[in-house]
Every structure is written in structure tokens, then in C-alpha cells.
């Protein structure tokens, strides 16, 4: 063996590159050549880009899906919280999630256009019948992908849309109940519904769709592009060009545009929408995503027992006919005029879908109830997203972060039995809607035993209505209003009110110095935080409502912190 032959030289003595080394082992070159081989009969065309652009968008979904899966949690308590975290707090989270969401819409559009192109070119005909069917199955999978993905954020729209879909499945004859339970993972919507949808969306469907897409592409490579119908076989062969790069560059260009449009839409709208967390008790607007709106609208035309026509029969027949199309189409050539029934049916179908979709959108746009519900949901969404910035509690109830949430719970448990909060009067005490506002005070002075004030409390020998001219009443209201510590009180007017206290006999029962213990409450600082806290703690205090009081003492029942929270809550009712 000669010493001048280093190991990097092959047996022939020539220097071997890494490429050659690899080629010998895995045949990379051959694989590349196989992929790049192939001609496009009739020449490269933008029409032929749609299939690969759809496949490219699936790659976009796969990539962004993996990124999102690193932060998403499929649990009813964590799903919304994790998506809100991705959307509002993680670096590029809104962008990645936006690409995933809008990318799915783009995928449906492009796959739909691909399907139309295949119809137009007659590319479903012999020998491509099976690939047409595989393509339809792929389209169905994309739809299931979209529907299952819609649920994952566990927000209002995803939850309710999916609930309606599961119920539709449940309405199917014979197997309906089992189908619904299978989708839900039980008798009702819950944890297993979400984990099932997640497993389907992030594991089963990606694997299935990848395999089926591989088969689709394999069959496509076997049969090649279907050239434009106007070209004879000879003409098409004469104009054939290599797919790589002549068709490939068109595919790349349209693919780039498709991704670019998605990215621009994401930036413009700052990502995909995320509504407030799913609330099974709310009445809400179950609206599917845009691509399902035609089916949603179709249901409107079939009521009661006929609903199944819209949910099962029409979609079922259309699907069956679509699968059988290659065998139904007996046209002599790919010429559209030789396949008139197919062309007309396709055009009518497209028109019907568009009309149904537009009708659904237009109806909602005209509906004031829809606008109102949307506005309420928008407000709830803003609150939830803002509160989520502080971190979501383990039970997933983000509204717990609201400082008034606990107060509201105490109110419901301890106060609502007697007091009203809606301006409709209380059971045994005053309604506190607008408490401390001029209107509330005026109402009290004018009719203390009215239904919104002390009436329900049935106080014996309570306060008599104040008799005064409108100007005097204004001044007295302003005096009481100023005592609450309101910053916008008119001091001059309040002073005139103070001068009326004696002439109007207010001082018979009330003192105004914070010290005197009279029959009625001492009105010094009435309605301030300290005063309200005092009423909650012990309304029967000699400086307050004395022994005529009927409200329970809450000192000892509520902690000092809770009394403080309730005080803030009551003072917050002024603006309501």
C-alpha cells in the first residue's frame, strides 16, 4: 500500500466529494432527478399551479401548527388561556396563530379553485378517476381539519359552532346519537370533546392527510398534467416543456403570492380573532366560519323534521354525485361543450354556494339583534383578554381577575335577597342602581318610601317626602350630593341647600355634624366610602339608621377586606 493515497480518495484515485459519498449510500441525485423529471404537455400554465399551491399551504399549516402546539393546552380550563397567551403575550404569537388561521381559509379557497380547475379541464376523466376521488377525500379532510381546529381555542364562537355541528350529527337517523356521543366523547360537551378534537386535529389528520396527499401526488405524477382541452394530443406533446423549472417557477410564484396574501391579511388584522372564553350558560350567536355559512343558510329553508334535508340529504347527494362524477360523465372529450351537464351543474353549484353565503352575511348585517349580540361579545372579549394579561386562575375563570368579581359573588349571596341592582326595586331594601347619583338622591328625597328606595323596607314612621320648589329641591339634592364627596358637586348650590335644611325641617330628624345622634342618620359625609363601609358593617349604629334599621350587621360576617370590596362595589354603582 502506498503512503501517498489518503483515505479521502476513492478506489479510482480521484477525489470524492461529499455529494458522491452520499449519493452512493442514499441515491440523493436519483431521487432529485425523479422529482424534477417530467414534462408538462401543452406548456406551463398558471392553471396548473393550484394543486401545488394548495399543497404548499398545507405545509404552512403544518409548520405553524407545530409552533402553536408548543404553547397550546387542550384542556377546558387551559385552552382559552393558552391561546390568549399566544395571541397577546408571546413573541410573534399573534402572527404565527394568524398565519395558521388565515392560512386554513386560504387553503380552502385554493383547494376549491383546484377542484374547479379539474372540473373545467376534465381532469377527473379516465384514467384519473381514482385521483379525483382521492382529491375529494382530501378536500373533505381539509374541512374536518378546519372544523376541529375552530373548536380548539374554546372561545364562544368555536364552542357554539362545534356544539351545533355535534347536534346536527346527533340528528342523523339511527346512528345519530352514537355519532354525537362519539364526537363529544360522552353525553355532553366537555374535556374529552376538546382532547378528541385536538388528537384529531394535531395527530390523526396530519398523518392521514400527508399519506393521502402523497398518494394524490403519486397518481398525479403517474398520469401527468391534463392539457387544455383545445389542444390535440399531438399539439400538446409538441408544446411540452420540462416541469422543472418551467412549471415550477409558476408554482413558486403563485405559492409565494398566496403566503404573502395570508401574511398581509394577518398583519392588517393583527392576527386571527379570539372571542371571550366559552360560556355554556350564555345565549350566543352560533355562527360557523365563512366556508360553512352556505350550509348554515341552507338549514334556514328547512324547518322541523325537514331540517335533515339541509343537514344530511342535500350534502350527502352532492357528495355522492361528486364521487361518481368520472363514471357519470360520458362526454366524448375534455371539451367543456361536450360535457355540458357537468359544466352547468358545477356553475349552478358554485352560484348556489355563493348566494347562500351572501344571504347569510346580508341577513346578519341587517339584524339589529345580531349587531347588539356582537357588541356584547366584543365587550366581553375585550374584558377577558385584558384580564388574561394578569394570568388566568387554575380553574380557567379569567373573570375572577376582575376586582369586582368577588364583590359580585358576595352581593349575590348576601345582598341581592333584599337589594335591587337593576333599577326594578329590591325585595326588602333600596335598589342601588345609580346609588349616590343626583337622580337617585332626588328620587329618595321626593319619595323616600317609593319602590326604588325605602318602600320595600317598610320602615314605620320613616322619612316624609321633601316638599320644595324645583329650585329648592335642586339645591337640597346638590347638598346631599356634595356630602358624598363627588368632585363635580356645585358648592354654591350645595351651600344654598344647606341653608334650606332648617326651613324644610330636615333638622328635626337629622344632624349634619357627624356627632349628633338623632332619629335619622347623621348626614355628615353621607355616601362617602367611610359612611358606606359603616352602613355595611352596622347600619343600626346610632349615627346611621338607628334602631329603625332592618339591615343585618355584616361586621363579623364579612372580613374587613370584604367590607372594603363591597364598599367599592356599591360606590361603583353610581354610573350604572
Amino acid at each position: 500500500m502506498s503512503a501517498d493515497r489518503p483515505a479521502s480518495h476513492g478506489p479510482s484515485g480521484t477525489k470524492r466529494t461529499f455529494r458522491e459519498w452520499l449519493a452512493e449510500r442514499i441515491g440523493l441525485e436519483e431521487l432529485g432527478n425523479t422529482i424534477r423529471a417530467g414534462q408538462v404537455p401543452g406548456g406551463a400554465s398558471l392553471w396548473h399551479t393550484l394543486g401545488s399551491v394548495a399543497a404548499g399551504l398545507f405545509v404552512l399549516e403544518a409548520l405553524t401548527g407545530v409552533f402553536l402546539a408548543t404553547a397550546y393546552t387542550p384542556s377546558v380550563t387551559g385552552a382559552w388561556a393558552s391561546v390568549a397567551f399566544i395571541q397577546d403575550q408571546m413573541a410573534f404569537g399573534w402572527f404565527v396563530r394568524g398565519l395558521h388561521s388565515f392560512g386554513s381559509s386560504a387553503l380552502i379557497v385554493v383547494a376549491g379553485l383546484h377542484l374547479l380547475q379539474v372540473l373545467l379541464f376534465g381532469a377527473y376523466r379516465r384514467p384519473r378517476e381514482l385521483n379525483w376521488m382521492v382529491g375529494l377525500a382530501l378536500f373533505g379532510m381539509v374541512a374536518v381539519f378546519a372544523l376541529s381546529g375552530y373548536l380548539l381555542p374554546w372561545d364562544q364562537k368555536g364552542y357554539w359552532a362545534k356544539l351545533v355541528e355535534a347536534t346536527i350529527a346527533g340528528s342523523a337517523p339511527a346512528v345519530g346519537g352514537s355519532a354525537q356521543r362519539f364526537i363529544q366523547g360522552g353525553a355532553a360537551f366537555g374535556t374529552l370533546t376538546l382532547t378528541r378534537a385536538y388528537a384529531l386535529h394535531a395527530m390523526a389528520l396530519p398523518a392521514l392527510l400527508t399519506a393521502l396527499l402523497g398518494f394524490h401526488i403519486y397518481l398525479f405524477r403517474r398520469h401527468g398534467h391534463t392539457p387544455k382541452w383545445s389542444l390535440s394530443t399531438e399539439e400538446a406533446a409538441a408544446r411540452a416543456v420540462p416541469a422543472w423549472p418551467d412549471q415550477a417557477i409558476k408554482n413558486a410564484l403563485v405559492g409565494f403570492l398566496a403566503w404573502g396574501v395570508v401574511a398581509v391579511a394577518v398583519i392588517q388584522r393583527h392576527g386571527a380573532p379570539l372571542e371571550s372564553p366559552a360560556d355554556p350558560t350564555s345565549s350566543t350567536l352560533a355562527r360557523p366560519e365563512w366556508y360553512a355559512l352556505p350550509l348554515f343558510q341552507l338549514r334556514m329553508f328547512f324547518e322541523g323534521p325537514l331540517e335533515i334535508v339541509a343537514t344530511m340529504i342535500i350534502p350527502g347527494v352532492v357528495t355522492a354525485v361528486a364521487f361518481a362524477l368520472p363514471f357519470l360523465d360520458r362526454g366524448p372529450s375534455n371539451q367543456p361543450r361536450h360535457r355540458r351537464p357537468v359544466m352547468v351543474a358545477s356553475a349552478l353549484g358554485l352560484l348556489a354556494l355563493t348566494a347562500l353565503g351572501v344571504t347569510a352575511i346580508a341577513r346578519d348585517a341587517r339584524d339589529p339583534a345580531y349587531a347588539k349580540a356582537r357588541a356584547e361579545e366584543t365587550a366581553r372579549t375585550e374584558t377577558a383578554r385584558r384580564l388574561a394579561l394578569k394570568g388566568v386562575p387554575a380553574d380557567g375563570n379569567v373573570f375572577r381577575n376582575d376586582p369586582t368579581y368577588h364583590a359580585r359573588e358576595i352581593w349575590d349571596e348576601r345582598c341581592a335577597g333584599c337589594h335591587g341592582l337593576a333599577g326594578a326595586g329590591g325585595e326588602k331594601g333600596p335598589d342601588l342602581k345609580g346609588y349616590n347619583s343626583r337622580a337617585w338622591i332626588r328620587g329618595f328625597l321626593a319619595n323616600p318610601d317609593g319602590p326604588l328606595h325605602m318602600g320595600p323596607a317598610k320602615i314605620e314612621k320613616g322619612m316624609r317626602p321633601v316638599e320644595a320648589t324645583p329650585e329648592e329641591m335642586d339645591a337640597l339634592v346638590e347638598y346631599v350630593y356634595a356630602e358624598t364627596g363627588a368632585a363635580d358637586a356645585d358648592t354654591a348650590k350645595a351651600g344654598r341647600g344647606r341653608d334650606l335644611l332648617s326651613p324644610k325641617d330636615c333638622d328635626t330628624c337629622h344632624d349634619f355634624d357627624g356627632e349628633g345622634e338623632n332619629e335619622g342618620p347623621n348626614l355628615k359625609g353621607r355616601g362617602t366610602a367611610k359612611w358606606v363601609a359603616g352602613v355595611i358593617a352596622d347600619a343600626g349604629h346610632p349615627l346611621l339608621f338607628t334602631d329603625r334599621n332592618k339591615m343585618p350587621k355584616f361586621r363579623g360576617k364579612l372580613t374587613a377586606d370584604e367590607i372594603d370590596e363591597m364598599t367599592k362595589f356599591v360606590l361603583g354603582l353610581k354610573g350604572r
Binding site: 397567551f85 410573534f92 409565494f256
Partner: protein
């Protein structure tokens, strides 16, 4: 006008195609990698409301280290937890009514939980046999530093500890988060 030779034109087209493909992929991959890198750069879960009450003073007997758990609120990604076990500590007192010191149970070697060996009167790490005395000094084994001492003080009858985590595996003591 000279017609370009198709081969040269195609070579150029191939380059453009590959370039377009790369740019398209970058549209999702670059922000996606930023998304992945975000949490890696961020701080660890924040433990608020430190220091935390961990024991009653008279429960800490001289030369009888007491293992206590620090339970407190924690922010972890989107989660805000009110009561979660943040970690545990050894409370050590060497003199009756003397000062109490607290050591994190996290071994500074590779992060295992350090036990106390009553017979030998020293702390042992069950994973890689590092041993520490009651002052937290490393006696033997692979630990690069002594046990991590936690700030502690007595308030009334309560022992309060400021629970903290430190980077393990380094001779220098660096707090995390």
C-alpha cells in the same frame, strides 16, 4: 434581438424558483423560530408575595434540621396560581433559641433533593453522594458549591423564608428569575 439559449435561461429560472421557495418558507419559519425562542429568553415563573411563612419557630429544634415546604402564589406562562408548592427548604438551628438559617433542598450539583442523615448529622444528596454540614458547606462529593442559603427571619412566632431558585452546576451562586 438575440434569443437566450434555453439552457441558460432555465438555469436562471431554477435559481429564482429555489429563491422564491426559500423566501416563502422564511415567511413562516422565521417568526416561528422567534415564537419558539421567546419563552426560552423569558424569565422563569415568578413567585410573588415572598417571603413565605414556612414554620412555627418553636418547631425548629437545635441540631435537628426541619424540612419545610414553601407554598405561595406563582405566575407560570398564562397560569396564575394562588397556592402552589414552590419548593422546600431545610431549617437549621445549631443553638437553643439561636438564629435559624434556611437552606434550599435543591442540590447545587444537578438539582436533586438533598436529604438529612440524622446519624451522621449531615446533609446527603441521594443522587451523586454530595454531603454538606449544618452550615451548608460542601464536605464531599461533586457539588461545585455549598447548599444555597435562603433569606429568613422570624416574625412573632412564625419563620418566614424568601424562597428562591439558583442555577445549579456552577461554583458561583446565581439566582434564577
Amino acid at each position: 434581438m438575440a434569443v437566450e439559449p434555453p439552457d441558460e435561461r432555465r438555469a436562471f429560472l431554477k435559481l429564482v424558483t429555489a429563491g422564491l421557495g426559500a423566501v416563502t418558507a422564511a415567511l413562516a419559519v422565521v417568526p416561528g423560530l422567534g415564537f419558539l425562542a421567546g419563552p426560552a429568553r423569558g424569565a422563569a415563573g415568578k413567585g410573588g408575595a415572598n417571603p413565605l411563612r414556612v414554620a412555627t419557630e418553636r418547631d425548629v429544634k437545635p441540631n435537628r434540621p426541619l424540612r419545610v415546604t414553601a407554598v405561595g402564589p406563582q405566575e407560570d406562562a398564562w397560569l396564575r396560581l394562588d397556592k402552589v408548592t414552590l419548593g422546600s427548604a431545610w431549617l437549621v438551628r445549631t443553638v437553643e433559641d439561636g438564629p435559624i438559617r434556611a437552606f434550599s433542598t435543591v442540590c447545587p450539583h444537578l438539582g436533586c433533593g438533598v436529604d438529612y442523615d440524622e446519624k451522621a448529622g449531615k446533609f446527603n444528596c441521594p443522587c451523586h453522594t454530595s454531603a454538606f454540614d449544618l452550615d451548608g458547606r460542601c464536605l464531599s462529593g461533586p457539588a461545585p458549591r455549598g447548599l444555597d442559603e435562603l433569606e429568613t427571619h422570624v416574625e412573632g412566632r412564625d419563620v418566614l423564608v424568601r424562597y428562591q431558585r439558583f442555577r445549579v452546576g456552577t461554583s458561583k451562586r446565581e439566582p434564577i428569575g
